[in-house]
């Protein structure tokens, strides 16, 4: 599937390198595999979905060492970006 996407889109090796590194570093930084991140993401989505309608397809979770202002944080922090489709449910 990934291979087909690459052929269709003709991703440059630069883009491939950048995408691979981004995924790799997330797991390096927290000692947590991409599979586990995916599981955390699905669990968060499940819990929030009980209370409001969210866009599970475009939600993102990320573990970073820098704050939104670019300053270094002492502890790694989990950021979740979850678009809400409907508050009332």
């Amino acid at each position: 599937m990934e291979l087909f996407k690459n052929i269709l889109k003709r991703k440059s090796s630069r883009e491939i390198a950048k995408d691979r590194l981004k995924i790799l570093l997330i797991s390096d930084r927290v000692n947590c595999s991409p599979e586990m991140m995916e599981m955390i993401k699905n669990d968060i989505a499940k819990v929030i979905s009980k209370y409001m309608k969210i866009d599970t397809k475009s939600m993102e979770i990320q573990i970073t060492k820098t704050s939104s202002k670019g300053r270094a944080l002492k502890n790694p922090t989990l950021y979740a970006n979850i678009p809400i489709l409907d508050l009332k449910q």
Partner: protein
Amino acid sequence: MSEVIVVTSGKGGVGKTTTSANVGTGLAAMGKKVLLIDTDIGLRNLDVVMGLESRIVYNLVDVVEGNCRIKQALVRDKRYPTLFLLPSAQTRDKSAVNPAQMVKMITHLRDQFDYIILDCPAGIEQGFQNAIAGADRALVVTTPEVSSIRDADRIIGLLEANEIGKIDLIINRIRFDMIKRGDMMSSDDVVDILSIPLIGLVPDDENVVIATNQGEPVVGSNTLAGEAYQNICHRVNGKEVPFIDFERGISFWTRISGIFHRS
């Protein structure tokens, strides 16, 4: 007002020693009093890059073990009178020195110099711990390749955990022709991934190899890498200098060499 800077990268062969030599020389050329310390015990190289290998009498381990006074071990540079090298030992290994001894030695030396630059060994073991122990700030060297960026990220994490106050990034061996083709990550890509401030961009320039062959620094010479290192020195020294527009640089040099090829 002295500053202790560690030059580190995690991965080997990305240009730590070349960076140390050129930043140290560049700062000395600005009239600063600079001490370069090679902390790679067992694999010393900074001396040969600086062209000072024949002048070594004592080394870092001799100083730490008290076999000589610190002054006796410092090698004066042949070009700049305010530049000194403390070479590493070639016949010992990293366990010959510990972080506490490094801190003690640097505390003793720091008020005699404007800058102390520590050339760190590759890896994250004791040699790395020794090199960062006494440092105020770090220059992290990486190339635009996945392996060295991954290692740089790990190193940045360790530097932050060790509370190194200021961590800046140098991207070395940039190939602008490859970036143009979309086959190499650009400086923006690398900064985006590592998210630390950028302090230098050094192009992949054959003049670095030529200068190293001769044991001469490239900084300050009329080459792309020479200009890049010169700019890093200004920035380390607190002066804001714009990053070179290398595309213009390349076309300029191609034009010049084109003239010579024609004649």
